[in-house]
């Protein structure tokens, strides 16, 4: 918009002025007609209209799409140099020329001669052609000139049709503008200033000027790309801030290379512990051995491991100094905590709170969620007589600072803490408890050899920095968050990292879902966007001259073409015998009411044996012969693996179509549409006039798929309970008759053998469904 309304020159102003005057006189101006009458190009007139429009309410503009004529190259040629016949007439001397001469030298002579004769401009005298009149008027040229200038209305339609046949003119689409007076109409439009300048301010001229209005609807511009901090490093700063607010002191963790001694042995992690395996830990080749470890401390550690002490029986094995002296890349920052606690004990113990956030290394196979290095967040508190309750309190305080308020603790095992607890938080989105960190009290076998006093207990917890960052920025692949392959957009799009630090105060009830207001706002926003989109589509349609038709068929059907009548449907469905797609039986029944249907069952080589019942999946009748059928459903039993997706049925509609339809719910959708194309009497899915009805079914189908097909047993049972509540007063899941949703839910309950143990509402509903005529052979 901005680009189109800048730089109006004096000429532009003239046209604008002319338009305004014409408006004042006539009340309305049509852009193309105005261009003809004022002998301006249409483009220029449109530019002037746009400029005037941008002034506000001076004029009203309506866009009209119409068909108009323009000259072809040949037509333009004739418009400038005259018609063939006129040129022939003009080329002849008064005494005329011989016919053969004309034919030999004049281009298009046949046509020119014919037309000139017809116009009675020329006559034939013997061999010669001579002028019959003294002067002529070249009507063709006049017409073509008029059309080229946009004045086609002066040319009769019959003649236009003839010219079109002669390929002198062609029909084109054109957008013209109908301009009328606006509420703030005036004929005296001043030249608008583009910007406020130094000179205007100094001279005071700005007072008498009008300024081109600023377009508040366009985006701003930035002269130079700003510098940003990396989102992960920003989140790291936030966590540092939290620890500092809680009175913790940062540990010097700038030593990636660590000895196995400090990384494992000092933590009372036995030398045969799996974590010390080369599969999990990066050992260092150079410098392969550590230079020094405090010898008296090492002796105490050795004794505690091999034969116990400080009230412990130890691990009872031969402790190896060589193993402890191996260098490695630290697997946790707890190695540094051990060093700090040892130092604290040497310097004289006093209560401390330590924290660190730094890199640790694991010899992982790299994938979307695993890196060889990540940042560990760790907090440690050492004081006299700390209890697990204190550890829990600390963790709660810490997590509240990042907006996580619902916590639970699960007993766990960790070689250097006892008791150990995994930290779980309730995930509102997933509606379940997820692990967010690990914690525990350091073992006396770790603390006492260091010289930490007997009554002192040390509480510690840890988590990774990357995981909360991935959740925060909505990233599924960790390599999109950190590392040299990170795309700059991540950093540029997330210039500021803020965490939900204030939630505790503002929102005491964290269990409640989104508020009604926020949902309303969201809904309104979506509707606004949809309206804008609709206007945009209408605009494009107008520009393209396309007429949009209202349609009551589903958008998906419009897009895919959907199932159609009159062609043979060869539908092949692969299904796992452990999950027979029972709903297809009812759909086959529905199909057989309107189509001649052929039903077949095959067994793929991956399936060793199929029960008699599944062999007869379609019932005893197999429908009509394939050659006489218009729909052929072939069911192939196949076993493709044990994962939920492998257990899902798939469907191919035609052997040529590469796309498979996956999942019983989607197959159901396809077949229901196929039913509904042929008859309006069966209304399973989409045929109803109510899109709400279809949307409800869609929702149920998707839920059923995600809970039953993809979910675990827990999700399945809870979904059955949900359905049971729904069926308390209703006899069907959606509306008052059986729908695809009922068929799919019933099928899933049967597959999962959950019907027997289902609540009474569900049992009652299933009985009702099974009595329905479509469900005759359901089981």
């Amino acid at each position: 918009m901005r680009a189109s309304c800048h730089n109006m020159g004096a000429e532009g102003m003239d046209v604008q002025q002319q338009i305004l005057h014409a408006l004042e006189k006539n009340g309305v101006v049509i852009s193309n007609e105005f261009a003809v009458s004022e002998k301006e190009t249409h483009q220029k007139v449109v530019g002037a209209i746009k400029s005037l429009e941008s002034l506000g309410n001076v004029i009203n503009v309506k866009q009209i799409a119409l068909k108009t004529w323009e000259c072809t190259d040949e037509g333009n040629n004739l418009a400038t140099s005259g018609s063939h016949e006129a040129r022939l007439f003009n080329s002849l001397p008064p005494e005329g020329r011989s016919l053969t001469d004309i034919k030999a030298s004049f281009p298009n002579s046949n046509f020119a001669l014919g037309a000139a004769m017809k116009n009675k401009w020329l006559k034939k005298e013997g061999e010669k052609v001579i002028p019959a009149v003294s002067a002529i008027e070249d009507e063709v040229q006049i017409h073509l000139k008029a059309i080229a200038a946009g004045g086609e209305n002066s040319v009769p339609d019959k003649i236009k049709a003839e010219y079109k046949k002669r390929k002198l003119i062609k029909e084109v689409d054109m957008t013209v503008f109908e301009v009328s007076k606006g509420s703030a109409f005036t004929t005296s439009v001043m030249k608008q200033e583009a910007e406020l300048t130094k000179e205007m301010i100094e001279s005071g001229q700005w007072k008498g000027k009008t300024f081109k209005p600023f377009n508040f609807k366009s985006k701003g511009r930035i002269e130079q790309r700003s510098g940003y901090l990396h989102p992960l490093m920003q989140l790291r700063s936030e966590f540092r801030q939290i620890f500092l607010e809680m009175g913790f002191t940062e540990m010097p963790t700038n030593n990636y290379v660590e000895s196995a001694f400090w990384n494992f042995d000092a933590l009372f992690q036995p030398q045969q512990h799996p974590a010390r395996d080369a599969h999990d830990t990066f050992y260092v080749a150079e410098p392969g051995k550590t230079i020094s470890v405090p010898e008296d401390y090492l002796q105490k550690v050795k004794k505690t491991h091999s034969s116990g002490g400080y009230g412990s029986i130890g691990y009872q094995y031969d402790w190896s100094r060589e193993e402890a002296h191996k260098n490695l890349l630290r697997t946790h920052t707890t190695a540094v905590s051990a060093r700090m606690l040892y130092k604290l004990a040497q310097e004289g113990f006093q209560p401390v709170k330590f924290f660190s956030i730094d890199r640790v290394f694991r010899n992982e196979t790299l994938d979307a969620t695993h890196l060889a290095e990540f940042n560990q967040i760790e907090g440690v508190v050492a004081d006299y007589s700390l209890s697990i309750k204190n550890l829990m309190g600390l963790i709660k305080g810490f997590f509240e600072k990042i907006g996580i308020t619902k916590l639970r603790f699960k007993p766990a095992y960790n070689p250097y803490t006892e008791p150990s607890m995994e930290i779980f938080s309730y995930h509102e989105g997933l509606k379940k408890w997820v692990e967010v960190g690990n914690s525990g009290m350091f073992r006396p076998e770790m603390l006492r050899p260091m010289g930490i006093p007997e009554k002192v207990t040390v509480a510690a917890w840890g988590l990774s920095l990357e995981r909360p960052a991935m959740i925060m920025y909505g990233i599924n692949n960790i390599r999109e968050l950190v590392g040299p392959r990170v795309k700059m957009e991540l950093i540029l799009d997330n210039p500021l990292c803020t965490i939900d630090k204030f939630r505790k105060q503002d929102q005491p009830d964290t269990s409640s879902g989104p508020t009604v207001e926020s949902l309303t706002k969201r809904q309104e926003l979506i509707l606004d966007r949809l309206l804008a989109l609709q206007a945009k589509v209408a605009n494009i349609a107008a520009n393209m001259g396309v007429k949009l038709e209202d349609s009551d068929t589903a958008v998906t059907t419009q897009l895919t073409g959907g199932p159609q009548l009159g062609i043979i449907h060869d539908v092949v469905i692969y299904a796992d015998p452990r999950r027979p797609p029972y709903s297809l039986r009812a759909l086959a029944n529905a199909l057989s009411t309107t189509y001649s249907i052929c039903l077949r069952v095959h067994c793929h080589s991956t399936v060793k044996e199929v029960s008699e019942k599944l062999q007869q999946f379609w019932g005893a009748k197999y429908g009509v012969d394939r050659s006489k059928s218009s729909v052929c459903l072939t069911l192939v039993w196949r076993q493709d693996g044990d994962s939920p997706t492998a257990l899902m049925p798939t469907m191919t509609v035609s052997p040529l179509a590469a796309n498979q339809v996956c999942g019983e719910h989607n197959i159901g959708r396809y077949l229901s549409r196929l039913v509904e194309v042929a008859t309006h009497s069966i209304n399973l899915y989409e045929c109803s006039s109510s899109s709400v009805f279809t949307a409800q079914i869609d929702e149920l189908l998707d839920q059923c798929h995600s809970k039953f097909t993809l979910g675990n047993n827990r999700e399945r049972t809870s979904y059955v309970r949900e359905l049971s509540a729904k069926l308390d007063k209703e006899s069907y899941l959606v509306g008052s008759s059986i729908t695809l949703a009922d068929l799919l839910v019933l099928s899933n309950l049967l597959q999962l053998r959950m019907l027997e143990s289902a609540p009474s509402n569900v049992l009652k509903w299933s009985k009702g469904c099974l009595e329905h005529h479509l469900c005759k052979y359901f089981i």
Binding site: Q224, R225, S226, G227, L229, H230, L244, M246, T253, N254, N255, Y256, Q272, F282, V284, E286, P287, I291, Y310, G311, S312, Y315, Y317, N327, K353, N363, T365, L366, A372, E373, V381, L386, I388, K389, N390, G393, L394, K396, R408, F409, K410, P411, A412, Y413, P415, P419, M441, R443, P444, E445, T457, A459, V482, G483, P484, R485, V486, N712, R714, T717
Partner: protein, 589 residues
């Protein structure tokens, strides 16, 4: 953490009631277990995959899990595992030959008499051995278990180690006798067994257990003989465990016999096997040792943050499979059964008490510790953060790259000869991406540029992070032989770029740090001096010097380095050793 597969119905049967998934999850959560997955198989029924603590060997099979949970729920009391007198002491002896000391010096054994196998019991028996092999036995390196049908062999048994050519037998599930060296060759291609082959492959002698008639029972830690194979009809089971760690062999044997003695006609009884070492030492196994461990009531209360009596602590411990009795007011005597080798210290007892008490109950009364301290940042990190902010204010954008590189990225692509550098080499990387710890931040920034060629130029990046260098100074390296060094690296990548662009940034950093510009090699302040560096364009690389000490490089990146990183525009770069700069100006350490 090991995961144990348990048939849901079998487990619930043992627990005496049906649980919904939610209820069972909750029970597991309370006890410190986790249902990892639920597998529904129409033939096998529903299987729970349960994650158990790596130190709880007694929970590695359905029998153990069911028992522990039944005791927890108060439905069963703890069994008393009993060692029966041996029927024929001489017959079930294990005689150890001296040559075993060269390869696998220890052996233990036990007999389970009058057992009843069903397919489920048999599967669980095999499964537990496998779990023990994988976890406690460190993939059979520490301990290897062999189980045999006692009625097919005749003791006393001989544990010997012989040269491979002298061992020949029909291995499990084979029909032909094979010589040991050929057998190992064969198994080195077996997907299941190949990981155990290296344990003895290059030893001069291989361990072998035979009976009185020379029938080979097993060649540990690889394979058993086919002759003494256990079937569903087996009634009497002979168990041997050979080991390089005597204590772990004892744990493995105790665990195995405790878990399956419940299927004997006289439940929870085991018959011992006497082991005779060459030096005359005679030891009877299994030990089935009940250890007395004292736990102080005040300690348990302190660690847990509660105030319970000795009686109530003892009662709660009993629900955790630890039979305990109060002794006086401040003592609980715990009888640690042979299934609970994870109890090392009274802190382990305190934890079981806390679990029995219930973490949810504890959490209901959680409180912040009374520890009052004043927080303090680590100075180096404090200054790094200040400088990161400064660099971003100069319109440079921060990258976060890895500290592990491939050798080629750090050396060849940078035109740097690593022979001359004191870099830290990783011994066992799984991928080439992790072969070396970085000595410079520049390759990471170049790789970041290369991943962002779609972004409009100029691209200006920086990173403030650690590189690692070998160093023999014990104090500087905290005794390890390698130290971190914090670097600042910045790069300006554009169609046209000169050194002065990053030099301006350097000037701004120095202004911020209050280091004056020394102009013409004045020793106070900073200045540049032309100096070659293999990664930079000759003639366009300088040393950054503060008070006569070089602290880094500045220059145009060498065109070959540019192309090596799949880039095509010039780049000016700056990399300085921030720690050295701070040292020189007396900030930080």
């Amino acid at each position: 953490m090991p995961t144990v597969s348990v048939n849901r119905d079998v487990l619930f049967n043992a627990l005496g009631r049906f649980y919904s998934d939610d209820e069972f999850n909750e029970l597991c959560f309370q006890y410190g277990l986790e249902v990892d997955d639920v597998v529904d198989d129409p033939e096998k029924g529903i299987t729970y995959k349960i994650e158990v603590g790596a130190n709880r060997y007694d929970l590695l099979c359905c029998e153990g899990l069911a028992l522990a949970l039944s005791v927890y729920l108060g439905k069963k009391s703890l069994p008393n595992y009993q060692l029966m007198p041996a029927k024929e002491t001489e017959k079930y002896k294990l005689i150890v030959k001296p040559s075993t000391a060269q390869v696998r010096p220890y052996v233990v054994g036990a007999v389970l008499r009058n057992m009843k196998f069903t397919q489920a019991v048999y599967d669980s028996f095999i499964d537990l051995q496998d779990k023990l092999h994988q976890n406690l036995a460190r993939k059979r390196t520490l301990v290897a278990i062999g189980t045999h049908d006692l009625d097919t062999v005749s003791g006393p048994f001989i544990y010997d180690a012989k040269v491979p050519q002298d061992i020949s037998f029909v291995p499990l599930n084979q029909s032909q006798a094979i010589r040991a060296d050929k057998l190992l060759e064969m198994y080195s291609h077996d997907s299941h067994l190949k990981e155990y082959v290296p344990i003895i492959k290059d030893k001069p002698v291989y361990p072998v257990i035979t009976d009185q008639k020379g029938v080979v029972l097993s060649m540990p830690p690889i394979i058993n003989g086919n002759h003494s194979k256990i079937t569903l009809n087996t009634r009497n089971v002979f168990i041997e465990c050979t080991a390089t760690d005597r204590y772990k062999a004892q744990i493995v044997l105790d665990t195995l016999v405790c878990m399956f003695s419940g299927y004997c006609d006289q439940p929870y009884t085991v018959e011992p096997v006497q082991v005779e070492y060459p030096d005359g030492e005679r030891v009877q196994y299994p030990t089935l040792y009940y250890r007395q461990q004292e736990a102080s009531v005040s300690y348990c209360n302190m660690l847990t943050g509660v105030n319970e009596t000795a009686e109530s602590i003892a009662a709660m411990l009993t629900t955790m499979s630890l039979s305990a009795k109060p002794q006086g007011q401040d003592k609980v005597i715990v009888e640690v059964p042979p299934t609970r080798y994870d109890i090392l210290h009274e802190c382990d007892i305190a934890e079981d008490f806390a679990v029995a008490y219930g973490f949810d109950r504890l959490a209901a009364d959680m409180k912040m510790p009374p520890t009052n301290t004043i927080g303090q940042e680590f100075e180096l990190n404090y200054l790094s953060d200040k400088l990161r902010l400064l660099l971003s204010q100069n319109n440079y954008t921060e990258a976060a790259t890895f500290s592990l590189y491939s050798r080629i990225d750090m050396g060849e692509r940078m035109k740097v000869n690593l022979e001359n550098e004191s870099w830290v080499k990783v011994a066992n990387p799984k991928t080439t991406e992790c072969e070396a710890v970085r000595i410079s931040l520049l390759p990471g920034l170049l790789k970041t540029l290369s991943a962002n060629k779609h972004i409009s130029l100029p691209l200006k990046l920086f990173e403030v992070s650690d590189v690692v260098l070998r160093d023999t100074c014990p104090s500087a390296t905290r005794g390890t032989g390698a130290r971190n060094q914090r670097h600042i690296c910045a790069i300006n990548y554009n169609v046209k770029v000169g050194i002065e662009k990053v030099q301006g940034l350097l000037d701004n950093i120095m202004v911020a740090l209050k280091v004056p510009y020394a102009g013409d090699n004045n020793s106070q302040g900073y200045y540049l001096e032309e100096k070659e560096h293999p990664s930079y364009f000759p003639g366009f690389c300088g040393s950054v010097i503060i008070s006569g000490v070089p602290v880094g490089h500045i220059g145009l990146v060498h065109p070959e380095v540019i192309t090596n990183f799949n880039l095509n525009n010039p780049a000016a770069a700056l990399e300085i050793d921030m720690q050295k700069v701070l040292e020189l100006i007396n900030l930080g350490k």
